[in-house]
Amino acid sequence: MQIQVTVNGKTRKSEVEDRTLLVHYLRDQLHLTGTHVGCDTSSCGACTVHVDGVAVKSCTLLAAQADGCAVTTIEGMAIQDSPTTSQLHPLQEGFKECHGLQCGFCTPGMIMTAADLLKHNPNPSEAEIREALEGNICRCTGYHNIVKAIQWAATHSTKPEPNQQEEPVVADEHLFTNDVTTGEVVETH
């Protein structure tokens, strides 16, 4: 079926299978691979994105259900992020400042969940942060520095609008450049 979704500010018209999950649509069709899959029971939160401004686990939603919606993924969170200029979202800064990530696999989901929390509760307590993260599993950090990262972001928030531009990711395989995808590719003509 045909769907139309605004992803990180860009309108996409796509043909999807009825059963395609939103997370697979983002990863496999749009090559937005920052959204991860960590489980098959909607329990880990690695796939969290915003749909119409609300954090949802994109493995619980069909792509078809996102028809007509605005989706923001981790690739759309930075205020500005191109190879030449970059200004990250306060949460992205906070995770770096506080060492809130190790392997980075849970990180996009953590940030998307935390962004939703801060929208509704700009100054959460430690307990409120821990409760908000209940649906997101991190195996590396023990959550201590994730909590601190979110606290950091809460005190450094400049209320930014997420970036609506992504830039191409270029691969380094021993193949012709034209052959490979390892992330979202923006076609230029």
Binding site: V37, C39, C44, F105, C140, G142, Y143, T182
Partner: protein, 790 residues
């Protein structure tokens, strides 16, 4: 030379790509013409394949191939990398771990694969799996290692009717230990289970095999902790393909914790299938498969006895353990309960007599192998539970009982290392102050007062101490070789100074969250006196990095970092020759610092960049010296390193419900010198969470048919943010005397010390309320704790 970066909490250089969604994990990579694999797996823990019919699946649109066991009969099984023979000399039993179970053969655990579907999309491959008809004859199965040893137990491998993989004894002669225990004034006996847990790295395993028909070369992208080791095992032992025709890439990897060390069948199969089909083949595990197929950890059943004299000095330790190996021997599996466990039973105590008797058994479960800490958490659990319980039984203070039995301090430089009763020689140690520091952070005396008051209320308070030691920096090759390792455990590094003075460092270590791209760069920048921006770390690709043994056993900095230091020394040595020539002085007149060679006592100097350029543009150049400034080194450690520390847990136990709340978790760790305190602290945090997880939340549950009944995040209880407190950490520094950086390793410490601290705390709480229980089975669920009180 003063350090600018070493010792600083430099923010991680690798973070930005992960924070902006540009991390590149294996499943993020898509190659043109790529096919997708899906495995048909045994739904039974033990069942014979009577027939397989793939006709219908093959006929489905989009299905490219279906391979069964009969197609891969020629391939070897995945090998085991460590041989531990029976105590009577009989060779370790090493049943073949086949790629796919062939018709007539038996599947030996749930998930054992019988066929692999290769299709144009993942969903077609998954659908086609439903159309593969397998006729199974279900057979009796066994999951408990203790039951597997009972007469008449179902056999895992028909040729080994007693289900034993090997048995093993270690330490002082058992008669001496028996005598020590028998003559003890007090003996504390504990029978317990160190339950099986699932590593659960958040990135599920993923592989892409890509055979390139033009170059006749294979590329394997794999979520691994050690790309070169996978290449060696796969080429030499499984597929029999030439190593120089294979490139193995471990791109960004989402956590490992041991589970991504091993060579898995799926890895070899996608590589093999890619050649059969002439197209790349990808397989990504889903979480349910990960629960069934990733190597698990722990799974010991133990009887432990610790003897004390009338003054409370430990006189002997006698251990009898059964360890579950699973159905097949995984890569490092035989080493875990033996040389990574039995050798740590000295702990930090002066115990004069120690003996362990270990039986390693096959069961109808997936393989057990190293999981964060690997053997050392099991040894620490055993020792620290015993000593805490002994204190309760003898009415002594658990901290004092430890102080009294600690090995006295030794620095390994002016004083010799400490020779244990179980083969190892500790490098340097100072155990008393870490416990003192932990007690101070806790406010021990005040705590005991609060505990007394709480005993009258509905919420009991308890404190649990654990003073651990571990053997890291794995390992001196000759030593491990003598103990059965089939590999050397050195590391390699190349430091390539570019003509402009920029530096590329190639390491055989592999980062899957540990932050090597920052820590290693800090070291190199400081040692060369150049900015961190001028240094780049390259890892994870067998085509760019000459060789490597990878990252596990807290070895990256201690072994990989030492290899880098060797190459830096060579760079500086050759650089000095060039500098001396340019400055027209003797090499001996030069000193190096702040990125330049200076003639001692003068202001005549030449910078690192100028020397680098001269090395590549050798117009004015020492006679007979080769151009270039690029050095490789291999570093084989002289000894293990021995980090140690003290973990203290404070818990509250609800008398009505049995619910345990972890109120405080204190960790004082001595990991030797520290390069990046922020990263070390992060490693400790993560380890603590895993250790606490084992104590309170995690554990596999098998039913009577050896089916894993909690193989998903709905059922297997992972530690979540609201299960844990903020951690309180501190460090002590006792440098490692035998490696150039003085570092000991920090990756596993958290997971080693914390588990017994938490369980001890719960037992302590119960005793304070008058419930003199010796043990509660982990994980300490409310029900189990409540039952222990009622």
């Amino acid at each position: 030379m003063s350090n600018k970066f070493i010792g600083q909490s430099v923010k991680r250089l690798e973070d930005k790509r992960f924070l902006t969604g540009k991390g590149r994990y294996t499943d993020d990579i898509n190659l043109p013409g790529m096919l997708h694999a899906h495995f048909v797996r045994s739904p039974y823990a033990h069942a014979r394949v009577q027939s397989i019919d793939t006709t219908e699946a093959l006929a489905m649109e989009g299905v490219v191939a279906v391979f069964t066991g009969d197609d891969v009969k020629e391939l070897n099984g995945v090998p085991c990398g460590w041989q531990v023979n029976f105590r009577n000399g009989e060779t370790m039993r090493e049943p073949k771990h086949p790629m796919l179970i062939a018709t007539g053969d038996t599947a030996k655990h749930v998930g054992d694969p019988v066929a692999v579907i290769i299709a144009e999309t993942k969903s077609i491959a998954t659908d086609a799996a439903e159309a593969v008809m397998v006729e199974w004859e279900e057979l009796p199965a066994i999951a408990s290692p203790a039951d597997a040893l009972k007469p008449g137990a179902p056999k895992v491998h028909d040729q080994y009717p007693d289900n034993k993989a090997f048995d093993w004894t270690f330490g002082n002669p058992v008669e001496e230990v028996d005598a020590a225990i028998e003559s003890a004034a007090h003996v504390t006996t504990l029978e317990f289970v160190n339950q099986r847990v699932v590593p659960n790295a958040m990135e599920p395993r993923a592989y892409i095999g890509h055979y390139d028909t033009v170059s006749d070369k294979y590329t394997l992208y794999t979520s691994t902790q050690n790309p070169h080791l996978i290449r060696l095992l796969m080429c030499a032992f499984v597929l029999g393909i030439p190593e120089h025709k294979v490139r193995v890439v471990g791109p960004d990897v989402g956590g490992g914790f041991g589970s991504k060390i091993y060579h898995y069948t799926e890895e070899a199969l996608v590589t093999w299938a890619s050649k059969q089909l002439g197209q790349p083949v990808k397989w990504t595990s889903d979480r349910s498969e990960a629960f069934l197929m990733d190597a698990h950890g722990r799974d010991h059943v133990t009887k432990a006895e610790m003897g004390f004299d009338a003054d409370g000095n430990i006189t002997g330790l006698r251990i009898k353990t059964i360890a579950n190996m699973g159905a097949y021997l995984s890569t490092f599996a035989p080493a875990v309960p033996t040389y990574l466990h039995g050798t740590l039973l000295q702990g930090v105590y002066t115990t004069p007599k120690i003996n362990i008797d270990m039986t390693c058994v096959f069961t109808h479960t997936v393989a057990v192998d190293a999981y964060r800490g690997a053997g050392r958490p099991e040894a620490t659990y055993l020792l620290e539970r015993l000593i805490d319980l002994a204190a309760l039984e003898m009415g002594k203070d658990p901290a004092q009982l430890r102080f009294q039995n600690f090995i006295p301090p030794f620095d390994g430089v002016t004083q010799p290392g400490y020779q244990t009763q179980v083969a190892l020689q500790y490098d340097s140690g100072n155990y008393h102050p870490v416990l003192e520091k932990g007690l101070e952070m806790l406010g021990y005396d005040d705590f005991r007062q609060a505990q007394k008051e709480a005993a009258q209320s509905n919420k009991l308070l308890g404190v649990g101490i654990s003073t651990y030691i571990e053997a890291c920096g794995i390992a001196p090759s000759a030593v491990v070789g003598a103990l059965g390792a089939r590999a050397g455990l050195y590391e390699s590094a190349q430091v390539r100074v570019q003509p402009t003075g920029k530096v590329s460092v190639f390491t055989g270590s592999h980062s899957h969250g540990q932050g090597h791209e920052t820590t290693f760069v800090q070291v190199v920048a400081d040692k060369l006196g150049i900015p961190m921006e001028d240094v780049e770390l390259v890892h994870g690709d067998s085509d760019t990095v000459a060789f490597g043994m990878g990252t596990y056993g807290s070895r990256s900095l201690a072994v990989g970092g030492s290899a880098i230091m060797k190459s830096i020394d060579k760079v500086l040595e050759k650089g000095a020759k060039i500098a001396a020539h340019k400055l027209e002085c003797a090499e001996g007149d030069l000193e190096y610092g702040n990125g330049k060679w200076t003639v001692k006592g003068t202001d005549k100097s030449i910078g690192f960049g100028d020397v680098a350029l001269t090395a590549y543009v050798p117009h004015v150049y020492p006679a007979g010296l080769e151009p270039g400034l690029d050095f490789s080194s291999f570093y084989d450690p002289a000894n293990f390193t021995y980090p140690f520390g003290c973990h203290i847990a404070v818990v509250e136990v609800d008398k009505e419900t049995g619910k345990v709340t972890l109120k405080r978790m204190i960790a004082v760790d001595d990991v030797g010198n520290i390069i990046n305190p922020m990263i070390v602290e992060g490693q400790i945090h993560g380890g603590l969470a895993q250790g606490i997880g084992q104590a309170l939340l995690e554990g596999t549950i098998y039913d009577e048919n050896a089916q894993l009944t909690n193989g998903s995040y709905m059922d297997y209880c992972m530690p979540r943010a609201d299960d844990l407190p903020m951690f309180e950490t501190a460090n002590q520094t006792t440098p490692c005397p035998h490696n150039p950086l003085g570092v000991k390793g920090a990756g596993e410490a958290g997971a080693i010390g914390s588990t017994p601290a938490v369980v001890n705390a719960v037992i302590d709480a119960l005793w304070s309320g008058g419930h003199q229980v010796k043990d509660i089975l982990m994980p300490l669920t409310p029900e189990r704790v409540w039952r222990a009180m009622n």
